[in-house]
């Protein structure tokens, strides 16, 4: 009888160990295939055990992180935990996503921008916020004017943001207990009007459209405009470009609207919530479109610089039927198109500035506070000065560091040693970095609201080489 009783307990106990072992086996072999988790994450690499990493503890730390990222049945465990938080507490297990009313999802940054200036990340001083915005607005105007000299049209598109158009779905009781501060959208739209900057603001347009169209302008479970709204917005942008450049551009033929299950970008927030069960959403509206063939239409080059709203154009618009070439500089951090997956720092900026006929800076009220994203200061620098001038100022800069900034120079010496470079080269790189972020500090002529008189003499020849020849296709 005791032996039988023991068997019962033994079965339970060894089943306990088996449960642990199952997780271990799945971690090691991944034998059960599960749908991977969605979203962009940096996964830990498998740590290599060495005496040094073991002794300093980094091997142990990395092993734990690696196990976290490759834990057996992790996909299943995380989805059900996320579902538990969602269903029991009406919360998301993603710090970047907030659940609003009626299961509407918002990015936390957008909700925050609705209640306070995101410039609080940099300063609490509202006059300082205004100063930064003013400098960027003036830079934009100068770059716009300078590019016009080469028949290149730079313009800003302010895409609408979900919180601006559908504030009624924002989560209640959101407060940051601070005054609003200076919001980029409020400041820039006012100043752009005053300075005569070329820009399209979709915020008031969408606010007006909201109650008149029969399709949603933003999806319940996505962060950007709906695919259908982005198509209509692009059609408007195309007409704006045609007027701006006084050119006959290719027209779009937009088909009949149809309803379908929410998909792709329209569901991007829900996708990265990684829930076990889908959120109930109404069907969404979609539209088919194509470019109208017109032999008299011009196919210019387009460069888009900005936030992820441009992805919709890449995904839903037949850009290659409208433009000779279109490239997308995502936050001026990486280039998609030509050259593909390249850092803007690795391209010849003079060439890249002269290639397009249209440069679209696209941001929304939430991301607008960083619309310059180091693209404009760099453009301003290279539109005004050629490489020889920049090099000579860089040389002066290096001498100043050597003579008057001992801490900086020491750091440069250390970096040179680490990277096996000459210290002169390190200082040259430092100089270029400073010039492309704050050129006004080193080229005084660029300061203030006056148009600089200096011009980069090399650009004309480059533009002539790049200039668009109408396609006969």
């Amino acid at each position: 009888m005791t032996a039988m009783k023991d068997i019962f307990y033994k079965i339970l106990f060894f089943s306990t160990i088996a449960v642990m072992i199952i997780f271990l086996v799945q971690t090691v072999t991944g034998v059960v295939k599960l749908e991977p988790l969605h979203g962009a994450v940096l996964e830990a690499e498998k740590p290599k055990p060495t005496l040094a990493t073991y002794v300093d503890g980094s091997f142990q730390e990395n092993t734990e992180q690696y196990l976290r990222d490759h834990f057996g049945f992790r996909e299943w465990l995380i989805r059900y935990y996320n579902q538990y938080l969602w269903s029991c507490f009406h919360e998301t297990n993603n710090a970047t996503i907030v659940r609003g009313k009626d299961n509407w999802l918002f990015e936390e940054l957008y909700v925050r921008n609705h209640y306070e200036s995101l410039m609080y990340d940099y300063t609490n001083d509202t006059s300082e916020m205004k100063k930064i915005f003013e400098k960027e607005a003036l830079r934009l105007k100068k770059v716009q004017e300078l590019l016009k000299e080469y028949d290149i049209h730079l313009f800003v598109v302010i895409a609408p943001s979900k919180d601006e158009i559908y504030p009624e779905y924002l989560p209640p009781n959101f407060s940051y207990n601070r005054p609003m501060g200076v919001r980029a959208y409020d400041y820039y739209t006012k100043r752009f009007d005053e300075l005569g900057v070329d820009y399209v603001d979709f915020v008031p347009v969408f606010k007006n459209l909201k109650n008149t169209v029969d399709y949603p302008l933003f999806p319940q479970t996505g962060t950007h405009w709906t695919s259908i709204a982005s198509v209509f917005a692009f059609d408007s942008i195309l007409h704006y470009m045609a007027a701006l450049g006084n050119q006959n551009l290719v027209d779009l033929e937009i088909g009949e609207k149809y309803q379908a299950k929410t998909r792709d970008f329209d569901n991007d927030l829900e996708t990265i919530l990684n829930l076990a069960r889908p959120i109930k959403t109404p069907t969404n509206w979609y539209v088919d479109l194509k470019a109208i063939k017109d032999s008299s239409a011009v196919k210019p080059n387009l460069v888009g610089v900005g936030d992820s709203y441009f992805w919709h154009f890449i995904y839903y618009i037949p850009l290659l039927d409208i433009f000779q070439k279109s490239t997308y500089w995502y936050y001026n951090y990486i280039i998609y198109g030509d050259p593909e997956n390249t850092s803007p720092l690795d391209v010849d900026i003079e060439q890249e500035l002269m290639k397009p006929d249209y440069i679209m800076l696209i941001f929304n009220p939430t991301t607008l506070y960083k619309f310059s994203c180091y693209y404009l200061p760099r453009a301003l620098l290279h539109l005004c000065y050629d490489k020889t001038v920049i090099d000579s100022v860089a040389l002066d800069f290096s001498e100043t560091i050597k003579l008057y900034k001992p801490t900086w120079y020491k750091a440069a010496l250390e970096k040179a040693k680490e990277t096996h470079q000459r210290v002169e080269d390190v200082l040259y790189e430092d100089a270029l970095y400073m010039f492309r972020t704050e050129p006004e500090q080193y080229f005084k002529e660029l300061e203030g609201s006056k148009m600089p008189t200096s011009r980069n003499k090399d650009l004309k020849a480059i533009r002539n080489k790049c200039i668009f020849a109408p396609s006969n296709e």
Binding site: Q60, R68, F71, L77, I78, Y80, N274
Partner: protein, 472 residues
């Protein structure tokens, strides 16, 4: 390695249990010792030799002490062994604190500070030092004879379930079980249930509260709303209890799985009706150690009143310092010492007059305010925070939006106070002290497995916060 980590839960623990139970009973101590060495060497590779070396020296010193018949000789050897243990603790735990304060003092007098390389703290040193002291003292007092085998003594000191966070197991409480222990499968399973309870307390309650507490205390304390300040400190009070008692539950549970009966470390401390009672229910093994190895040798309460107050203060200052080498811990110890002395001077009579529940509330408030000193290491910040608690400033909205946090806090409060009710007492008695029937075992086992998987789920899901695209 901590118990609430993937490496422990899915790698170390199942492999250890398989090896342990696959091994004949005679060899199990060696398996346990081997895995304990691996456990410590994995988490603190640079200190494993120090731990093993000090253990070996202590073993032979105590053996010598035991064999010696000369009283003076015995005293000297006991003193030497204790000095060795305390010397290591003093150097590794308090050297930085001492030199920093000395340098600050030298600076005041315009003198050149000492150049001193920072000393790293070996994990678990506070616990294994105290255990080795109990070994010396219990042998010296002839409470128990010393271990015959070095491996058995090493096992007592570095047994992984209680090595890094207690409970502090006195030598006399466990010596016999190291030599010989009976294991019942039913008890092994109950050990697993206890382990899961501890794991859940840590992951599902303490960690959830801790994340919010960290965020709140990282904000501006000067402008903190009093409501938020109270929620923060109550959440921290619960976090600390569920974290520490959870870890003790895991240690006790693991011990049970291996046939050891470690002493209980917590007995619903927040239900105490006085600070004295609180210290009989909170970190019981530390309190027992301090009573037996410090308070009583100092004279305890069999002396004049003023001497007894002095003894209490000494004990609590040391208790504070044991928790960490910083002024806030010393102050925290002094704070508790102050209340204990006050209770002896007459506050206890007030408690008796106002009744149980008001006394529990009052004690809870005293302890909770004390945790502010314990948690906020920078003393001016701690005082700022305490001033916000009593500023009665409720001007702004509470910026904690997480329902999960509030629900967890409520659950924590219910569990912390449930034995004040007879229903809570019954549930606790059933869970911790009942011999389960087969059917009950089956139900509790299924629940434990579900809870275990749920803990794994929470452990791995927390912090998994992917972006739509990478942000720059």
């Amino acid at each position: 390695m901590v118990f609430s980590s993937n490496v422990f839960l899915i790698l170390f623990l199942p492999i250890f249990l398989l090896c342990y139970f696959a091994c004949p009973k005679k060899g199990r101590n060696i398996v346990l010792l081997l895995f304990s060495v691996i456990f410590y060497a994995y988490g603190a590779p640079t200190f494993i030799l120090l731990l093993l070396g000090s253990t070996v020296i202590n073993f032979f010193l105590v053996r010598w002490l035991y064999k010696s018949e000369n009283v003076v000789h015995k005293k000297l050897l006991a003193g030497l062994a204790i000095a060795l243990s305390l010397g290591l603790l003093g150097y590794f735990k308090y050297a930085n604190f001492f030199v920093d304060n000395l340098n600050a003092l030298l600076e005041v007098f315009g003198l050149k500070p000492f150049a001193f390389a920072k000393v790293l703290l070996p994990i678990g040193i506070s616990f294994f030092t105290f255990q080795s002291i109990t070994y010396v003292v219990d042998t010296y007092r002839n409470v128990h004879q010393p271990m015959e085998r070095l491996t058995d003594y090493m096992l007592y000191i570095i047994m992984f379930p209680q090595l890094i966070a207690g409970p502090i197991v006195r030598y006399c409480d466990i010596a016999d079980e190291i030599r010989h222990r009976e294991q019942h499968w039913s008890e092994i399973l109950q050990g697993f249930y206890r382990f899961v309870i501890g794991l859940s307390k840590k992951i599902l309650i303490a960690d959830v509260l801790g994340r919010q507490v960290d965020t709140l205390l990282a904000g501006d304390l000067l402008t903190m709303n009093s409501g938020v300040a109270w929620i923060t400190i109550i959440a921290y009070t619960m976090q600390l209890y569920f974290d520490f008692s959870g870890y003790s539950d895991m240690a006790i549970g693991l011990g049970k799985m291996l046939g050891f009966h470690f002493p209980e470390n917590f007995d619903n401390p927040y239900n105490s009706a006085s600070v004295s009672e609180f210290w009989r229910r909170w970190h019981i093994t530390l309190g027992t150690f301090m009573r037996n190895y410090l308070y009583i040798p100092l004279g305890g309460n069999r002396c004049s009143k003023s001497r007894m107050y002095f003894n209490l203060w000494v004990v609590f200052l040391h208790s504070g310092l044991w928790h960490g080498a910083n002024w806030n811990f010393i102050l925290w110890g002094a704070y508790h010492g102050f209340w204990l002395v006050l209770e002896r001077m007459g506050l206890a009579k007030v408690y008796a007059k106002i009744g149980k529940i008001p006394s529990v509330i009052l004690t809870f408030l005293i302890v909770t305010v004390g945790w502010a000193i314990f948690r906020i290491e920078n003393l001016p910040d701690a005082f700022t925070f305490i001033s916000r608690l009593f500023a009665f400033d409720f001007h702004a909205l509470i910026p904690i939006r997480s329902i999960h946090f509030y629900v967890t806090l409520c659950i924590a409060l219910v569990f912390a106070f449930w034995v004040l009710s007879s229903c809570g007492k019954r549930v606790q008695g059933f869970l911790f002290y009942t011999e389960f029937s087969k059917k009950q075992h089956l139900v509790v086992w299924v629940l434990s497995i579900l809870l275990f998987v749920f803990c794994l789920s929470a452990l791995n899901a927390t912090g998994f916060s992917p972006f739509i695209y990478f942000r720059f």
